[in-house]
């Protein structure tokens, strides 16, 4: 039994639930049997990958759905071995080069070279393969330049589809060589509707009210919405309109942490918070997500002008966190800063009362 997200993923461009105009355009694009390099971007859970897979299916037929996981080994110039796993069919290969960290350049160069040179396309009439690179925005600049050169070099035997959240971190040289496809997040209504159809298919109709709540809680992330709905189903069937929407444990934990910060502002409390931050980090929650989550929870407890100040410092420390090596310094500095701001605010308020 697979997850609803996978099970109900549309497999052809015709079946997509939203951005239908775009789907028709895409269809037209590949109908010629060819397409330029694509740069697909949009927020997480908007359906970028789904769209790409639909596109490939349109192009190559159902053969692209026969996937296999492979391990590829590369040797860097410094003789270090790196290993990366890919998902591929006969027609395309999907890889997340940022998996290997700073060695991503080697993967880009070698992998695309291999793909471009092994021209073993069997039954299909297409004379190019597709390389799907995910998280292009996480690539190092070095790798992006390598990618740009590779794009020129192997244009005749392979097409690249690049997938990323934002184009801000993609160098202009790459952007200008690709046809940009923006995939906006589905609206709340769209998500609600999809949830209802999926749940119906699963035999446990979801009340509109609950569907709407799930959609709102998912922050317009369809994948999350579907996961949440499924978790709700596990929690209680049949689904009730006033049911609580399940959340992942780490979010609950993060909220508790935020509440701790609100309750008390002292070095001792900060120490406790630090322990919890460490706990979150060991559970693989990325530091910038912790930062954003904390901000989201904390800001609800603030007044207007305070919010501005808090957001500014969050942006400040998040930037450092991105560059620095010890995320905890910056997370902690942010929490300390918030504590100070909040404490001052509370004291002023109390002073006003008297």
């Amino acid at each position: 039994m697979s997850l609803w997200v996978d099970k109900h993923r549309p497999s052809s461009l015709n079946k997509l639930d939203y951005h239908k105009d775009q789907a028709t355009l895409l269809k037209k694009l590949v109908n010629g049997g060819d397409f330029p390099h694509l740069l697909v971007y949009g927020p997480s859970g908007a359906g970028k990958k789904t769209r790409i897979m639909c596109l490939l299916r349109e192009l190559y037929g159902s053969g692209v759905e026969k996937l296999r996981i492979e391990q590829h080994n590369f040797t860097t110039p410094s003789n270090k071995k790196i290993e990366i796993s890919t998902i591929s069919s006969n027609y395309h290969i999907e890889v997340n080069p940022s998996d290997v960290g700073i060695q991503d350049r080697v993967v880009i160069q070698e992998l695309i070279k291999t793909v471009a040179q092994t021209n073993n396309l069997d039954s299909s009439q297409k004379d190019f393969k597709v390389v799907l690179l995910t998280e292009v925005d996480k690539l190092t600049k070095d790798a992006q330049h390598a990618l740009r050169r590779t794009m020129e070099k192997y244009m005749s035997t392979c097409r690249l589809i690049l997938c990323c959240v934002s184009t801000s971190k993609v160098i202009p040289a790459i952007r200008s060589r690709c046809l940009g496809i923006r995939v906006a997040a589905p609206s709340i209504d769209e998500i609600t509707q999809i949830l209802q159809t999926v749940c119906k298919k699963e035999g446990c109709p979801i009340p509109t009210e609950l569907a709407k709540r799930v959609a709102e809680k998912s922050k317009r992330n369809l994948r999350r919405a579907l996961l949440m709905a499924e978790a709700c189903k596990v929690q209680q069937t049949p689904l009730k309109p006033d049911q609580e929407v399940s959340e992942p444990d780490w979010e609950v934990y993060l909220r508790e942490t935020a509440n701790m910060i609100i309750q008390q502002q002292s070095p001792r409390r900060l120490l406790e918070v630090r322990g919890r931050l460490y706990e979150l980090l060991t559970h693989c929650i990325p530091a910038d997500i912790i930062m954003k989550g904390l901000l989201q929870e904390l800001i609800n407890n603030c007044d207007g002008e305070l919010k501005t100040e808090v957001v500014q410092s969050a942006a400040f420390f998040q930037h450092r966190l991105q560059l620095g090596q010890k995320a905890i310094y910056h997370l902690e500095a942010f929490v300390a800063k918030f504590m100070a701001i909040y404490k001052r605010f509370m004291e002023e308020n109390i002073a006003d009362l008297f």
Binding site: P36, G180, R182, K292
Partner: protein
């Protein structure tokens, strides 16, 4: 099928003719012309066709008449015809056939490193050049080396180049192409005849784009041409590339303004206006919601910042001081984004600053 989206500079690199041929022959001679990148297809064939750069063209033509060329340094914003000009000049000097032998084009960002450049330049410069064409017509007895993006060469590489320039001056002419002349070291700049390329006027761009549309039988409206010009910022190459993408995506349908903006990743004016307006509300909640919405649309923060900057500078209801505060924050945020900071947080930091300034 032919590769549709030839890389931007591909047509101008030396290996390009080969790759074009290879691709073409592989396709069993399908309508070859049709899928060539338009940037190549509509590149000016002769110096006269080069749009808008009258002074440059005039000077260049003079020296062409004398069948001699000094070392050249072309500089100016991207897409103003620098590469086109030198290629056109070379064609008129050598003819289409000889050009392959006589012109070497090096893309500095492709083949980095002093040694590679030096090696290639040396090898090429050492081949002899006779004073006649195969068809018997006279042609100048020298070769041309085009160094594209010369400003991305390191200073040591440029210094090394200077030596080579002196050594091979008898048989070779260099043409350096760059965006910023200030990044070329003085000894090299002083050895070249400098030509500045002006940003293209909208009028020129419009004409050119319309020509192409006619030739390619694209249905378009005025707004879409305007949108193309706006989003390409005077860069002809960009404009043509966008046009081709749009045409490709839309097929036979009419190209609209929205399509162009979509391809170029430009955010609609309304969206930016709404963002500025919400800053007037002095409500954090409203601002947060709006920014989130824009982010959910998948727009890139960098783009928002660029456009916001253009808008802010023109806003009438802000004092200079307010503007300067906002612009400073814009700069900081841009740097942070370059460093890979979170887009949402940076945008919020920017807009809260803006809100504070406006509602002061």
């Amino acid at each position: 099928m032919h590769p549709f989206f030839k890389p931007r500079e591909a047509g101008t690199t030396s290996k390009d003719p080969k790759s074009l041929e290879a691709a073409g022959s592989g396709k069993g001679g399908k309508s070859k012309q049709k899928h060539v990148p338009w940037v190549e297809k509509f590149r000016p064939r002769s110096v006269d066709e080069v749009a808008y750069q009258d002074e440059v063209v005039a000077v260049l033509k003079k020296s062409l008449e004398g069948s001699d060329l000094p070392n050249l340094l072309f500089y100016g914003p991207p897409g103003t015809g620098k590469t086109s000009t030198i290629l056109a000049a070379a064609r008129s000097l050598f003819g289409a056939e000889m050009m392959k032998l006589r012109v070497l084009e090096l893309n500095a960002s492709d083949e980095r490193g002093i040694n590679v450049v030096r090696e290639k330049v040396k090898k090429f410069a050492q081949t002899t050049a006779s004073g006649t064409r195969p068809d018997g017509k006279p042609c100048p007895p020298f070769k041309i080396i085009i160094l594209d993006e010369a400003d991305s060469m390191t200073a040591p590489a440029q210094a090394a180049l200077r030596r080579t320039m002196e050594k091979e001056s008898k048989s070779t002419r260099f043409c350096l192409i760059c965006n910023y002349v200030s990044r070329i070291i003085e000894p090299i700049a002083s050895r070249c005849a400098k030509f500045r390329f002006k940003p293209l006027a909208d009028q020129i761009l419009t004409e050119r784009l319309q020509e192409i549309c006619e030739a390619e039988k694209i249905s378009y409206d005025k707004e879409s041409i305007k949108a193309l010009i706006d989003s390409s910022e005077g860069d002809m190459r960009k404009a043509i590339t966008y046009l081709q993408s749009v045409a490709r995506l839309k097929g036979d349908e009419e190209v609209t303004e929205a399509d162009v903006f979509e391809i170029a990743g430009v955010i609609s004016d309304e969206t930016i206006d709404v963002l500025i307006k919400v800053c007037h509300s002095n409500s954090y909640e409203k601002l947060e919601k709006k920014v989130q919405e824009v982010m959910f649309e998948g727009h890139s923060a960098a783009q928002i910042i660029t456009q916001l900057h253009d808008k802010t500078v023109q806003l009438d209801n802000l004092s200079d001081q307010q503007k300067s505060v906002i612009c400073e924050k814009l700069a900081v945020v841009d740097k942070c984004l370059m460093d890979g900071a979170d887009e949402y947080l940076q945008l919020m930091a920017l807009f809260t600053t803006m809100m504070r300034e406006i509602c002061r």
